[in-house]
Symmetry: C2
Subunit: 328 residues, 2 copies
């Protein structure tokens, strides 16, 4: 029997989840839940019902894992504990600083209901976190480096859009090539914020806005831009929508560490992603872990889990024998 | 209480294990076991006894995990099942084709004794295997590429040494840069054996040997060299011992995969290692997994395990709370 997936929220992540489910032989999409009028939501998979979220309780025995596709700012802190009372759930909560409190709330709910609830699944948090943990366990004496991009940062784009006189904007985070090379060569550089990433902004001005003033406000914005080398390009809305609509992203995780009687040997572990579609890759990770959620739940586990808690074999539909024969 | 590690076999891997234990706050080296005369073996750590392997049964309650540092050809197929009857054990068995039968033998022994026995821990098999499994689970529609080097291949060096007229030899496996670039760019190339790796040989001739004949025999050797672009350099024994004594190694694992309604998006996952000391890095991986072996054993698990079966958190001395706060 196939694992029955439910999707809550049908934006970029919801659509990505639907595509990832269709690529998995052992899964099927049972329903899409929405806060909108269901008749206004058209999904890709033929025959899959779109259901108002108010009716979700009727689906508790028809769904094995519910994928929560809301945002980390306001949706998931409420939704994940709430739906962990009814379903095995999985989310991509990515506000790193608030993960401990999210974990605590979700863990309490899932332990009470006897469900498995996975949080913070994707690539960062997610695959990058995994690589940090593996590499730190293996090389205890070393340094970590994480670089993001080239890719659009939603938070930084939003920050620009809040400036008076800005009609629309996209911001690319770009790793500094020379910093990557210094890390890759084993030099263990101490890198400032400015030395690690560039910020490139494409801005559509509102009618009558003062370009020089907008540029100044962007470049001087604390936390977001002041500590970076930032470039600002003013373009038309048409150019923004045609040339900057892509969702490519990626990044790099390094650990460089030393071993030896006199710490004379250097080792460099590098993990990198180059992604054409950030949401489709993120949801591909989520669907692999949804398989693990089902298996953990079938084994009687309960409570909140992260990628650190899941044996890699649980992400796979193959048997242990097959994995050892083909991948070990 | 610290995890008490025993080492069986004191060559490069044994010494590497000793160094890795000394770098771990939560571990201590209890004893080194050897087939040689113990008085002839000098270990690095003060106060650690060197014991003849015939007396190993007296140590069953003084060691938490025994690290088996023998070779895969003849030592481990015998030692791992044998010592899994007495201890929790871990090995670096790396004959990929024979892993299923090794697993079966070790699993039977460890299940009978109630011990945990991990096999094939290191970087390939080991970390590279992990990356193949994670990436395949996430991108089911894609291609795998593994490259090794630059580094010395022991098997290929041995093959050259068996040729008449060869006194000594080292063989480097080198990934072809243009092949790496083609994979990294997402072109999904179909690569022949010759297109992936070069083989570079440094050979010391015996007195009166025919260089041209030796070079011909190397380059035409089936499986080992015939399918590769192979270069042969004749050097003095002194040069071999001074310039080619290093144990650097490394490699690359890629998976390139597609997602999207029409498979229009390409994603590239790359994992690479650049290692100054192959044995010291391998044993650093082993010691991280020895921590996991102890924890699995404490939880009552038994039988044979591989890296696919171990939750990443089990490699770490930190608590779940600490890991989530700092690495997720």
């Amino acid at each position: 029997m196939k694992t029955r997936i439910g999707i809550l929220g049908y934006g970029n992540l919801g659509r990505g989840t639907e595509i990832a489910v269709s690529a998995a032989d052992d899964m099927e999409l049972a329903a899409v839940f929405t806060r909108r009028d269901p008749s206004s939501v058209k999904v890709l998979t033929e025959g899959v019902p779109v259901v108002n979220v108010n009716e979700i309780e009727e689906w508790t025995d028809k769904i094995d894992v519910l994928v929560l596709c809301g945002g980390s700012a306001t949706d998931l802190p409420v939704q994940t504990p709430m739906y962990a009372k009814l379903f095995n759930v999985i989310d991509s909560f990515d506000t790193h600083a608030r993960i401990p409190e999210h974990f605590a709330a979700v863990d309490a709910a899932a332990k009470e209901s006897g469900k498995v609830a996975m949080i913070s699944v994707g690539w960062d948090p997610g695959l990058f976190s995994l690589n940090r943990v593996y590499a730190n366990a293996i090389l205890p004496d070393g340094n970590d480096y994480t670089f993001w991009g080239k890719g659009v940062s939603q938070g930084h784009s939003d920050a620009i859009r809040r400036i008076k006189g800005v009609k629309n904007a996209k911001q690319y985070t770009i790793p500094v090539e020379s910093a990557l090379e210094a890390v890759r060569s084993g030099k263990n550089p101490e890198l400032t914020t400015r030395e690690k990433h560039l910020r490139e902004c494409f801005v559509v001005l509102a009618d009558g806005a003062d370009a020089a003033q907008v540029e100044k406000e962007i470049k001087e914005m604390p936390n977001y831009f002041a500590d970076y080398d930032t470039t600002v390009h003013f373009i038309s809305e048409e150019e923004l929508l045609t040339k900057h609509a892509g969702m490519a992203h990626g990044g790099f995780v390094f650990r460089t560490g030393k071993t030896g009687v006199n710490k004379e040997n250097t080792h460099i572990i590098e993990y990198s992603l180059k992604l054409d579609s950030n949401p489709e890759f993120t949801t591909s990770v989520i669907i692999a872990y949804a398989r693990a959620v089902k298996r953990m739940s079938d084994e009687g586990m309960k409570g909140c889990k992260t990628v650190f808690d899941v044996p890699p074999a649980y992400l796979c539909s193959q048997s242990g024998d097959e994995l050892r024969a083909h991948f070990l």
